[in-house]
């Protein structure tokens, strides 16, 4: 999932303003300006945090400041802009929140610092989904695409090559991940949906949508093509030119036949399309489905028999960071994995990287609903206190093991990425 403007834009601006006000306050309190001799002076611990809005919450930065004294300054951008910034302005941020698939572009640029796994307290407790590509119960997970464990380790501190075996040099400490599928409007479709092929079913002509982020959209397209039995890919996340041509041909034919109502690029667009009834079936992200539902409109994050397309993100550190800032960065990452933030993410329908610490910060009922696929005993609330689901409901797709265990592929950057982007442009122009 590529996450742009997940939250209201005002929110991030407010966060920024607060950050600025906080910095002024700290400067005033440091004694340098007022000259009060008994005010203890210390450098404010500030980290510039570049990322999409998905993990950037007021609550998280507040709690982090409270627990560690580290002030987080959010720099919010879309996934594409985050990547651009890392490559062109590596000095403009300290901590980077990005997705694993971006690493195939970021790491070769030499702007990412190799983190030392030994300094990450919970590293060994990170879910084996990331380190071994399997569930805690040992079940193997689909590894098509840029699966996190393929790009998790580097060969050396300054290496630009990914290591196939675990090393102490880590590119990206995982924080959050999820399994994506199609969102549907059960009230308008009125029948069960169980396969990705339904996206191209003429029954939904003019009422379907797919996301217009080429590297993710083509993965959804591949799920559809494979589900319809027209082709089986060796790796959906790394297609050959012929496979790209075939996939785009099938999609283009559907487009010309008027299958799609619109394409969407950000969270709000997808919510609006679905909520207004312009589309009844489309690629969607879990929190967007929740958003539609919270508007009082029926919407299901539909589990499909072919499985899910998954994504995962986490923290990188800029190569320009050194000295005490680097220590704060480790401190911040350690804090993030220590449980509070993990529980916060779990309550939004994502999954946290360290399950044990998140569990310790959630009630048994919350854990049961979000992670074990159990019916909620009491109302399920979002982190901000609003009721998400009434007591008695179960999560779409069931438990963590049901959902993550059914992952078929991961968001990816292909070897033929350049060709794919051109073909995608043709698809849009068709």
């Amino acid at each position: 999932m590529s996450k742009s403007s997940k939250f209201d834009r005002r929110m991030s601006r407010r966060t920024m303003l607060k950050g600025a006000a906080g910095a002024v306050g700290l400067a005033a309190g440091s004694g340098a300006i007022t000259g009060f001799p008994y005010v203890h002076s210390a450098d404010p611990k500030v980290l510039r945090y570049l990322g999409t809005a998905v993990n950037e919450g007021d609550e998280i930065s507040k709690k982090c400041l409270e627990d560690t004294g580290i002030k987080i300054e959010y720099i919010t951008a879309t996934t594409d802009d985050v990547t651009k910034r890392v490559i062109t302005q590596p000095n403009s941020f300290d901590v980077l929140d990005t997705e694993y698939f971006s690493l195939r572009k970021l790491v070769p640029s030499g702007n990412i610092f190799a983190l030392d796994a030994r300094k990450i307290k919970e590293f060994d407790n990170i879910t084996p989904v990331f380190t071994k590509g399997q569930l805690p119960n040992g079940k193997k997970i689909g590894d098509q695409g840029t699966a996190p464990w393929k790009v998790l380790y580097l060969e050396g501190a300054n290496s630009k090559t990914f290591s196939k075996t675990p090393t102490e040099f880590v590119t990206l400490i995982p924080t959050v991940y999820n399994a994506d599928t199609l969102g549907i409007r059960p009230d308008l479709i009125k029948r069960p949906i169980s396969s990705w092929t339904e996206l191209l079913n003429p029954e939904f002509k003019g009422k379907a949508s797919i996301l217009n982020i080429p590297s993710i959209g083509i993965m959804d397209a591949a799920m559809v093509v494979e589900a319809s039995g027209q082709h089986t890919y060796a790796d959906k996340g790394n297609m050959t030119k012929a496979e790209i041509d075939l996939t785009m041909k099938i999609m283009t034919e559907a487009k010309k036949a008027g299958q799609f109502r619109a394409f969407w690029k950000d969270f709000n667009e997808s919510v609006n399309l679905m909520a207004s009834g312009e589309t009844v079936i489309q690629s969607m992200w879990s929190p967007a489905v929740t958003k539609v539902r919270s508007m009082g409109i029926a919407c299901t994050f539909q589990p499909l028999k072919e499985g899910y397309r998954s994504w995962a993100s986490g923290f990188c550190v800029s190569k320009a960071v050194s000295g005490p800032k680097l220590d704060w960065a480790y401190e911040f990452v350690n804090w993030y994995l220590s449980g509070w933030a993990g529980a916060y993410l779990n309550r939004q329908g994502y999954y946290s990287a360290v399950l044990s610490t998140a569990k310790a910060n959630m009630t048994a009922d919350e854990w049961g609903y979000w992670m074990e696929g159990k019916a909620a005993v009491s109302d399920i609330k979002a982190p901000d206190g609003t009721v998400l689901e009434k007591a008695g409901t179960k999560r779409d797709g069931g438990s963590y093991e049901d959902r993550m265990g059914a992952v078929a592929c991961w968001n990816a950057v292909m070897d033929e990425n350049d060709y794919m982007v051109r073909k995608w442009n043709e698809f849009i122009a068709a």
Binding site: K105, A262, I428
Partner: protein, 293 residues
């Protein structure tokens, strides 16, 4: 000596504009042109001469003949949208300006009404654009209204996410850029010329065609330049109102940038700029704006 000083002063007077022009226009343009001839890979630009940005852009154009390749199709589509928008904004803009200049007698009212036209500009472009969506959607106000009146049974799908909605939004957003320059030209037309035409027995239509339009030409050309340059480069309006299903020249550049293919994006920008300059220079051929001003 005097001559030398005069030239020096003239250069000095022109200097601030020259500096601004070269730093903010010529230099970036030069850089874009240079970068467009570089090579690139997934994550960096390689400063080695390569025309890959251009050749990739026109990939398959010859092989696809007689069918049009993507880039040509995209440009034709962009030109089509641009032409439609231009015609409509010109028609509406001219009418509004004519009304303001010739039918509204008092200066105060002219100013008040012109300012009234600017009110939509107090909100952002994107918001004015998005405001159309709930109106035109499948379950939008227009469809509901038409269904309520009994004119249609099925909602009209082409109202939204279509070329219709794109042109509608573009016209809505940019007509004002036509109104102001045309109004500005018209207000300078000596009213006695109109009276003279009337006295000489010209009909209203003849006066319009033979007096008003020729004298309002500079305004028309300036307005057209505004509208054409904006629409040719637009990707936001076409994206949002077209449901991201309609490609435009600007959109190709955006996709390239997002894929970190800066040289390819620059190549497309150079091509777009070239085409726009061709259109503009054709327009200025018709009217010598400097002379008319």
């Amino acid at each position: 000596m005097m001559q030398g000083r005069k030239t020096f002063v003239a250069w000095l007077q022109a200097a601030p504009m020259m500096v601004v022009f070269s730093v903010f226009f010529l230099l970036p343009l030069l850089l874009v042109t240079i970068v467009s001839a570089w090579d690139y890979n997934e994550y960096e630009m390689i400063p080695a001469f390569s025309l890959r940005g251009y050749s990739d852009t026109f990939e398959g154009c010859i092989a696809d003949l007689p069918n049009l390749c993507t880039i040509l199709k995209t440009y034709l589509k962009t030109l089509k949208l641009c032409l439609l928008t231009w015609c409509l904004t010109l028609l509406i803009g001219f009418t509004v300006a004519y009304f303001l200049a010739f039918h509204v007698r008092s200066k105060t009212w002219q100013i008040v009404l012109t300012l009234l036209c600017t009110i939509p500009f107090w909100t952002s472009n994107v918001i004015r654009m998005i405001a159309w969506i709930p109106l035109l959607g499948r379950n939008g106000l227009v469809n509901r209204g038409l269904e309520g009146v009994g004119l249609i049974r099925q909602p009209l799908e082409w109202l939204l996410f279509s070329e219709f909605s794109v042109v509608l939004a573009l016209v809505h957003l940019f007509t004002f850029f036509m109104v102001v320059p045309i109004f500005n030209s018209m207000i300078r037309i000596d009213k006695r010329l109109i009276e003279a035409a009337y006295d000489a027995g010209a009909t209203g239509w003849q006066t319009l065609v033979n007096v008003v339009i020729p004298l309002a030409k500079p305004g028309i050309v300036i307005g057209s330049i505004f509208v054409i340059t904006i629409v040719m480069g637009d990707f936001v309006t076409i994206g949002v109102m077209g449901g991201q299903q309609i490609a435009s020249a600007g959109k190709i550049i955006e996709t390239r940038l997002n894929a970190l293919q800066f040289p390819a994006a620059a190549a497309n920008a150079v091509i777009l700029l070239g085409i726009t300059i061709l259109i503009i220079s054709a327009l200025t051929r018709i009217v010598d704006v400097r002379k008319e001003l």
